[in-house]
Amino acid sequence: MERRDFLKIAGVGASAALADGCSGQSTDRLIPYLVASDNVVPGVPAYYATTCGACPAGCGLLAKTIDGRVIKAEGNPRHPINAGRLCARGQASVQSLYDPDRFRGPVGRTSNGSWQPISWETAESLLVTKLRDTIGRGRGGAVAWLGGLQTGSMERLSGDLLKAVGSERRLFYEPFEYGALRRAAELTVGRRQIPSYDFDTANFVLSFGAEFLESWLSPVEFAGAFARFRQRRVADPFGAFIAVAPRQSLTVLNADGWVPVPPGSEVLVALSLVHAIVNATAASTSAAPSSIQSQVAPYSPEATARATGVAPETVRGLARQFVNSSPSLAVGGSLTGGGADPVALETAVLLLNAVAGNIGRTIRFDRPSSLDALATYSDMVDLTRAMAGGQIDLLLVHQTNPVYTLPAATGFGPALDRVPFVVSFSREPDETTAHAHLVLPDHHFLESWGDYSPRPGVEGLRQPAMSPMFSTQAAGDVLLRTARAVGAQPPDAFRAHDYAQYVRDYWNDRAWEESLKNGGRFARQDSMSPPEETLRDLTSTIAFPSIPSTAPGNDLGLIVCTSPLLYDGRDANASWLQEVPDPVTKSVWNGYAEVHPDAARGLGIADGDAVTLESSSGRITAAARVSSGVHPAGVAVPLGYGRSAPLRYAGGRGANAFALLSAAPVGGSLPWGTARVKVARAGNGRRLVVLQTETRSSADRSRLPLDAIIRPASVIQPPGTTPPHRESDLYSRHEHPEHRWGMAIDLNTCTGCSACVVACYAENNVPVVGEAGCADGREMSWIRIERYDAEARMSQGIRRTDTVSMPMLCQQCDEAPCEAVCPVFATYHNPEGLNAQVYARCVGTRFCSNNCPYKVRRFNWTRYEWPSPLELQLNPDVTVRSSGVMEKCTFCVQRIQAAKNDAGRANSTLSDGDITPACAQTCPAHAIVFGDLNDPASRVSRLAGDRRAFRALEELNTRPAITYLKRVAPAGDAKGT
């Protein structure tokens, strides 16, 4: 054979082999850039501004990408909702992006009912055929869209498509739909909308269960506002936040006082407050029409006292405070509460605001919320009925999971089975896809184009931060192609060749690039005073519940609660959200049934026992948690557990509280608060893993934290005149010639939400150890939130536990006990004041951990693994630690180093605020400040010298670099007076 022939044949063979290997779509990723994009420099992070999709609050998010992979979610500082902060769920969105259980591509149901992966061509042609058939049969009206809340492009596109096929059935469904609140607003001021709340100007906040620091409306925004509310106390004695609720949620834990009431009786307390106000200020009833007076007449504090257990003096005292601290603010019922008639509760709360003159000041109706467009539970019941009745032929389900989030009694699942063709756009298997015929997995929001506007004037954009992980397609693209394929009219509405173009056309923005960079378009907050609202006469429109005359039976009232981590359970498969302890109970990886010690005694239940809860609609089993944080007449069960979908972290974990709820709507809403449950002991067992079993702080100082709450007086007066005790040391002090990094954590604003903990997991490649690992005490978190309660005391009928949430992380001590005992210098004091930990040097004697009084060092008990593709989330700037070595918080040394490098390259010096560790960056309450203690002008230096400053276990002379700032109790607190 000639050499040339050989080469020819070899060439043909090779290209044939290559051509064979090139199938479909992903080859472009294998080819290196011919001309490298400016945005992609290996190892250098690029940030893409987008909008968080973890809940309908619509926070701005910056996706940090390195080498084309998103590794971290950070808050967008330019976004008016969250001002650069994110909650725990927002931080965990990168984990839902790399969720190992996501659909790899479209799947269809075969004739025998099993699932089969299919190609996108097949899948889409199937959808087109079905849609065409349906239209052809003249059943266009039987096409329905059931989706999570959408605004902007997707709202229009889905609407246009439905219109084109001739259907009006489109529901935006969220389990938390604020229907009662909207209805109450309609009744009271004639606007069916969610009001906006202003914690910034309120002088006194009264909550009737609203979890505004964890899941209610816009938690990150409210946490920031609440922090400012509480920070005002430092300057002058200031009003309090009192919560009236059947259970201590995280928000109630942050209240200055808790009025425990039986589940469902919040409305009576609210009405008795209105009664107390209108009768005390009878002379000047400008705000209170006589109709109100007559309507609340039966609810005198004396009349309600027996049903609510709240003493009349307490009600009068609160009423006085509420009126005198004008403007005050009352916020309505819990997402999942409100008792038998949530509309009545919300109406009573609005009335309370009205009689105190708060409407138009701290509570306004001139800024509608996008949530106003949500379907109510009644709408869902109607849809269920329509499905069951065969009125729906084709259902498109998008970003929602009603089979899980509706009570089983509603019968949504069986009704879904009656729908001939169900298409789901879910990105991972869930309870609803189990009933679908075709799954066309959508991108994760970090891979998508899109937009979301939580309220007018705040229009957030979404842009893909990376190319899709799997063979997924944007739902928008599928809709556009399908619409064109079925010849939807008008063709102009579906002209855009892809969804990215569609979004761009929709925005029609001259400053498109600018909007992309900013993460959207944000109008300046109007400072206009809102229009006057006139109070409607409620006499004929609402009947407030009568005061129950008999005590309820032995059954307990069901309190369904949301956790700040799991929300409604949609991202429960993000293992960080399972591993980070519930801020209230400190339990991990499982739900619980929380009962009061008195109730538990009556039922013969001990902490940790397995108990069954049985309502008229269903029955679940959960681990009992005996706690005085719940009213004796109630039992609290968290949402988000009991997922039955094949999800490795969430599936089969705990019990689904939705199962206990009954189906009949009350006031258009899900009957969250009506269920009464029988609780019975089902067996022994300590299945609930609780990471902090001891939360009482004690007077004999045998437990942290000292006296972390101080009275306002001690803030205003200079600290005590006790001279600093003499110090002598055998060794000379460490020198920090350039920097000494330090941190200040303000316990006055920290709410304990645990966003910092999740951020730390994400930033520092902290492994997840699972439920068994946590039960063995081997959780790896570098920062944790410790909860400490003072001895509970009653003052003026209000329970005060003085709970402090204390973030605990490496204190980077100057005289670190860990350093002296390491035999190999694996931990040492670096010149910038950090306790450096050299993983490669560590031999694992674990003496450092024994000698750490803060117990913040973590040992690698084994080789931890990240199920693929979760390993793609790992931060390449941080070592993944090997088995047998110790690790701990580094103050995000990689960020310090990066900032120093940047400053060096720019020939400038570091200035205060250039470096922000992950925990400080995400803190919704702005409680964590990081900086250089060597710089006397830095914020952290000033805070270190603050009158509220103390150091943890200061008497051990460890000289921590972390300063804690004490919480300030409100004026008028019995402790202070």
Binding site: Q692, V843, F847
Partner: protein, 444 residues
């Protein structure tokens, strides 16, 4: 003349009788080799479990945050404690001219050496990365790194190494005349071995003179080490700031504890050993009784330390320490506390009764109980203090798991293996000392 002959015959008889004990070790002795083989088998299994632990990581143990030290460190302290009385019986009693020590000294010293060999395993077994254990050794290296001598662990390593070397020398020097005797009585490879071990001993007056002074010097040195080594071991704990550890009483407290455990281990080993080796008339009831008397004295010191610890916790104004001690008697580990008190403070009081002191089997049972008590004392100090520290969030409980049980039991087998192997190949009672003892008119 006749008296001289009698004495000579008696001396000769001592040699024969003691060397007869070695006959027990001849290759044909199934019992001996069976026991040695069984011990080997057990520690080989433990070694395999250790390999498994290294491969899988410490996840296989019951250790957890915050109890980072558990069974392994307890075993370390326990074996170091055992190592103590050997020297005490041998060196201190020698210096005080307590001649009754002679028959038990050799067994006690051998126990010391083997116990240190056993103890030395545990700091390595307990390392997260055991394969990097050599990083603790101070030698010039290409890593350009040096160990941290402010860490008590380094003091510990130095102290134990010193103690081991000096104890080995002390034991060996005493053996030289006996090796010479064995050399003279053996043939073949054994002769070659013993000849090299005898270091050319010929029994001249000059050699005896050097022997005596060397032995006395080493006895003085090793006595100082008894105190220093266990003081330093205690500083592994006392230097830490852990409530329940951080206490100035720890050094004497640990030394007393070590002696108590060592003395009881001497009883545990000697009582069956003298039967097996057929040396009952050398190690007599009087020797055992004397050890029991010592145990009572030391036990009272230990009890005094227990009381002092609690008294300081009560007297001091430190809520953390008080909380730790309340937890110790009242918390999860309370059973260990009461076990410790019964075994270490109450059981030895029985030795006030002559009937108990003079009954070998009662002594044996009591000595086992004291060993158990000393084990639980160390476990209690180490674990319960760590489990209940400053930070309430991190309170936890430690329960050992099977790899820890296996390795610790394996260490017992390792100890017995070497002890039997050595005691089977050297005279179990010092022949030279015994002869001198007899010549000086002591009882046999």
């Amino acid at each position: 003349m006749a008296e001289q002959t009698v004495t000579a015959r008696r001396l000769h008889c001592i040699s024969d009788e003691i060397l007869d004990a070695l006959a027990w070790t001849r290759l044909g002795s199934l019992v001996y080799w069976g026991v040695v083989g069984l011990c080997f088998y057990v520690w080989a299994i433990a070694a395999a479990v250790w390999a498994y632990q290294i491969y899988t990581g410490f996840i296989v143990t019951g250790l957890e945050h915050p109890v980072m030290w558990g069974f392994y460190i307890t075993a370390f302290v326990f074996w170091i404690g055992i190592a103590h009385s050997g020297t005490l019986v041998s060196a201190i009693l020698f210096l005080f001219r307590a001649h009754w020590r002679t028959p038990v000294a050799r067994i006690a010293e051998t126990m010391t050496i083997v116990a240190v060999m056993t103890a030395a395993l545990f700091p390595i077994v307990h390392l997260g990365r055991a394969w990097r254990a050599y990083w603790l050794i101070p030698y010039p290296n290409q890593r350009g790194l040096w160990p941290n001598f402010s860490s008590p662990l380094m003091w510990d390593a130095a102290a134990i190494a010193t103690y081991f070397i000096v104890s080995l020398l002390f034991w060996f020097i005493d053996l030289v005349p006996d090796f010479a005797l064995l050399r003279d009585r053996s043939r073949g490879w054994a002769h070659t071995l013993y000849r090299s071990l005898a270091l050319g001993w010929s029994g001249t007056a000059g050699q005896w003179r050097y022997f005596r002074s060397a032995y006395t010097l080493l006895a003085a040195l090793v006595t100082a080490l008894v105190v220093s080594v266990h003081s330093i071991v205690s500083w592994d704990f006392a230097m830490a700031i852990v409530p329940g550890w951080h206490s100035s009483i720890f050094a004497p407290y640990f030394v007393a504890g070590a002696i108590l455990s060592g003395l009881s281990m001497v009883l545990t080993l000697t009582i069956p050993g003298r039967e097996l080796l057929g040396i009952r008339h050398y190690v007599t009831a009087r020797h055992l009784e004397n050890i029991a008397r010592l145990i009572v004295a030391v036990s009272l010191i230990v009890t005094y330390s227990y009381v002092s610890e609690f008294f300081f916790a009560w007297l001091g104004d430190d809520g953390y320490v008080r909380s730790a001690f309340i937890d110790r008697v009242n918390g999860h580990y309370a059973p260990l506390f009461w076990l410790t008190i019964v075994c270490n403070s109450v059981v030895p009081l029985l030795f006030f009764s002559a009937a108990v002191r003079r009954s070998a089997w009662k002594l044996f049972v009591a000595s086992i109980l004291i060993n158990v008590g000393m084990w639980s004392e160390r476990l209690l100090i180490i674990v319960s203090s760590l489990a209940h520290e400053f930070n309430a969030y991190s309170w936890g409980t430690y329960v050992p798991r099977w790899p820890e049980w296996t390795i610790v039991l394996g260490s017992g087998a390792w100890f017995l293996f070497w002890f039997l192997l050595i005691i089977g190949h050297v005279p179990p009672v010092s022949i030279a000392d015994m002869k001198a003892h007899v010549l000086e008119g002591g009882e046999r």
